[in-house]
């Protein structure tokens, strides 16, 4: 193809949802053969822009210029034809299908599957060699870890001849290792002459892989920079329109009361396989115990046994020196909350909230039995409305309307609401999963500050996160899990990405 300076150019793209102006005459320029980053707050309009580039939404005004010709894409296939491929934030994969079937879906060629598959295998082998993939073509997708699913999406796009790859928050769900692999792949793609456009909330990623970066705020482009000529500080400032800095710093503590204590705890996952193997650990008052690990190494089960969502197979969990879980003791989450344990679930949409409920109704999920929400079984709707309003203000949840279905808030704003709900009762112990997944840095800083505040106030916190920076920033000690076992616990002072990474990979074992 001829080589225009810009792979994609948008001319005054505007998109409205009702009276929300999601994108306000956005003029984006992406140089061919570069990696281009987009940053912005939750609800800034990033996903919308991307969805228009991919023909999933149609702009109300403006057009997309690809390869010097203007387009208004009627649907994704139209965009695909011009060589744009998108990796959605919520993967567009058919879970019960194999990787291969997912990749050929819609681009099968032959009407007989055998032939279609055969030809695809050939083509894919070539692609995999070119970009250094290695995917299990015949495995069923639902059995794959997120990182791999994402690669499937990317390969899917390449298989369709994508020249321009568009990724919406590709790293939001990835472990550091996976992110690293992704960036390696992205560089590889650039080396092969592809153009990559991606949205992220993590500024260091921008610095690490992009050539150019565009900053959006409230549906408008507020700045464009060459990555080399900017800094995370500047970007952060541009995003939120004000300096963001962590105020809270960790203060040292005297007393070391053990709040939560696991003794050789083992548990099975839903498939009945041992997913947690004889884990022992303590969480003290006034400390944040971070838990690191590649997704699917038992962190989820660890949180579930503590929070009363999973039966313990062996060992025991003690909270305030009371056995709350053991092979013959199971405690209802409601009781645990009353004992002073709060739980920020890592899978927000499946567990932490009821998607189709209003934000208001979600504001009492798990606490519906507390006297301030119900009395003799009757709900106190007025009290609930007021509480929800309070939560919205305290955490600055947007849009500021508790009656809206929670599903129409961005993940970031959902998270803010959940955190408000869980800290409202001043719990003594907090179990937090993925505190800032998909949350913009403004909000991230706020959440981190809150966690530190709680710690300084002498609470005990256990935080599971896939984001090592996060853990290094907020934890006192970091426990690393691998294959259901506790590899070791390191004090944050003598921990760094590299050592943790090795431990997570199960290479290096050491106890604190």
């Amino acid at each position: 193809m001829s080589n225009p300076e810009f792979a994609i150019e948008t001319r005054a793209l505007t998109k409205r949802f009702g009276d929300v102006v999601a994108n306000d005459s956005v003029c984006l320029k992406v140089r061919a053969g570069t990696v281009h980053g987009i940053v912005g707050e939750n609800g800034a309009g990033k996903s919308t822009l991307l969805k228009m580039l991919f023909g999933f939404y149609q702009p109300d005004e403006g057009e997309v210029v690809v390869d010097r010709t203007a387009h208004t894409f009627a649907d994704p296939s139209a965009a695909m034809k011009t060589g744009i491929g998108m990796v959605h934030q919520h993967f567009m994969l058919v879970e019960p299908f194999t990787v291969l079937d997912n990749i050929i879906l819609g681009a099968e060629g032959s009407a007989k599957l055998e032939d279609a598959r055969a030809t695809a295998r050939g083509a894919l082998a070539a692609l995999e060699r070119q970009f250094g993939f290695n995917l299990p073509l015949d495995t069923v997708v639902e059995e794959l870890p997120v990182g791999v699913k994402q690669r499937v999406e990317i390969l899917k796009a390449l298989y369709r001849g994508a020249e321009i790859l568009v990724l919406d928050e590709p790293t939001a769900v990835l472990t550091p290792q996976e992110s690293e692999q992704l960036f390696a792949l992205v560089r590889q793609l650039r080396a092969e002459g592809k153009t990559v456009l991606f949205v992220t909330h993590k500024l260091h990623e921008i610095m690490a892989v992009t050539d150019d970066v565009t900053v959006m705020r409230a549906g408008k482009i507020v700045a464009e920079r060459k990555t080399a000529e900017t800094s995370t500080g500047e970007l952060a400032e541009l995003m939120v329109g004000a300096k963001v800095a962590r105020e809270k710093t960790r203060e040292a503590h005297g007393e070391r009361v053990i709040r939560l204590s696991l003794k050789n705890v083992s548990a099975n996952n839903d498939q009945g396989v041992r997913a947690l193997k004889a884990v022992s650990l303590d969480v003290h008052d006034g400390e944040v115990l971070g838990v690191a690990g590649v997704a699917g190494n038992g962190q989820t089960e660890l949180m579930e046994v503590i929070t009363g969502l999973r039966q313990v197979a062996a060992g025991s969990v003690e909270f305030d020196n009371v056995v709350i879980a053991s092979p013959d003791v199971a405690t209802n989450p409601i009781t645990l909350r009353r004992m002073g344990m709060a739980h920020v679930a890592e899978d927000r949409l499946k567990t932490g909230v009821v998607e189709s409920f209003s934000a208001e109704d979600n504001a009492m999920l798990g606490y519906q039995r507390e006297p301030d929400f119900s009395h003799r079984g009757i709900l106190k709707l007025k009290a609930l409305a007021e509480t929800a309003k309070r939560y919205f203000e305290s955490q600055d949840v947007r849009p500021r309307n508790p009656k809206l279905a929670i599903s129409s808030f961005s993940g970031g704003n959902q998270q803010k609401l959940v955190i408000a709900r869980e800290i409202a009762r001043d719990p003594q112990l907090m179990i937090i999963g993925q505190p800032t997944r998909g949350v913009d840095i403004g909000a991230v800083t706020k959440i981190h500050d809150q966690i530190t505040e709680l710690r300084n106030a002498g609470k005990a916190l256990l935080v599971v996160s896939a984001d090592l920076d996060e853990l290094l920033a907020i934890s006192d000690r970091i426990a690393v899990m691998c294959e259901g076992e506790l590899v070791g616990i390191v004090a944050v002072e003598d921990a760094d990405e590299k050592t943790l990474g090795l431990m997570m990979a199960g290479e290096k074992r050491r106890a604190s």
Partner: protein, 324 residues
């Protein structure tokens, strides 16, 4: 011993006859739900097809014309359901119910207006019916011990549609698992967004699936009024549509297991008829109402026994909308 063998053969033969309409309807429901459209309108489509087939056959005297009419009618109804559930994004359950009720009323009404025999069509005979086909040598071989009766009683002596059904099951399985269309159909029932972003029209796929469902269901209706029966009578589908639905779920939305489930229903039903008025060892003769409920009790027990959890196609019943 010989006796028992003969009896079993009779049961099996009866099973095959009883199962035929169930299998066809079950596959129809399967195609619909695999594509993400829940179809409890099977009952109505069956009845409509049965009526149309009987009418056309009665008028023209040709069962084949009846077959055409039956398929056409069921197809139209299926597309109506498709329009409501796909284009209108209406409630698929209500739509299905509605179709069942409309036909339950419309068919006898039209029959009454056209044939003046109340809710019925005239009795069909000769060429207006798909009568039982005796395969070559059925008679002569009958005398051969063991395989003889097996051939003449079980293999031979069914109507053409039953034999078609034997071919249709693998055909549907092949379509579903071996063709591009099948791949897309299964995908659209699991994750329509994935199909949409892959540049395939979700609506078109679902319409196609419903069309297939319509034809299959039509065939099951045709066999009711022109094969197993000889004419249309009000409510002659007698709940078979719902039974087929159950069989499909029981068969975990897969063709061959669905076939087996239908055969099971058919068998216990045949057995039930056979056990009526027979004094069983120990128990003695059980009241006929209990023998009649036997098939249903058995189904429940089997389900509870080892059926385990059954997960429907993820998107089934949910109208597809592009946003969120």
């Amino acid at each position: 011993m010989i006796d028992l063998y003969a009896d079993t053969l009779l049961l099996v033969a009866s099973t095959i006859r009883t199962a035929t309409p169930l299998v066809l309807a079950g596959l129809a429901g399967l195609c619909a739900e695999r594509a993400g459209v829940v179809d409890i309108g099977l009952e109505g489509k069956m009845l409509g097809a049965a009526f149309a087939a009987a009418t056309a056959a009665a008028v023209t005297g040709s069962a084949w014309v009846g077959l055409g009419a039956g398929l056409a009618t069921s197809l139209v109804l299926a597309l109506l359901h498709a329009y409501v559930s796909i284009t209108q994004r209406g409630n698929q359950i209500v739509s299905g119910m509605a179709i069942n009720i409309v036909i339950a009323g419309l068919a006898p009404t039209l029959a009454g207006a056209w044939f003046h025999q109340g809710g019925q069509t005239p009795l069909l005979s000769g060429g207006a019916r798909f009568t039982e086909i005796n395969l070559p040598f059925a008679e002569s071989l009958a005398s051969v011990p063991v395989i003889g009766p097996l051939y003449s009683e079980v293999i031979s002596g069914h109507n053409i549609i039953t034999y078609m059904t034997v071919a249709i099951v693998p055909l549907v399985a092949w379509m579903l698992y071996r063709t591009r269309f099948g791949l897309r159909l299964r995908a659209v029932g699991e994750n329509p967004e994935a199909v949409d972003t892959a540049g395939i029209s979700v609506a078109k796929l679902r319409y196609q699936a419903m069309a297939i469902a319509g034809l299959l269901c039509g065939l099951s209706g045709v066999v009711l009024s022109t094969g197993l029966g000889a004419g249309f009578i009000r409510d002659m589908s007698a709940g078979k549509g719902y039974l087929a639905l159950a069989a499909m779920i029981f068969g975990r939305w897969k063709p061959v297991p669905t076939l087996l489930a239908c055969l099971l229903f058919g068998f216990v039903d045949a057995l039930q008829g056979r056990l009526q008025g027979v004094a069983l060892p120990l128990i003695g003769e059980i009241p006929v109402q209990f023998t009649i409920m036997l098939p249903y009790v058995l189904t429940v027990l089997i389900l509870a026994g080892f059926a385990g959890r059954m997960v429907a196609p993820k998107a089934s019943g949910i109208p597809y909308e592009k946003d969120h």
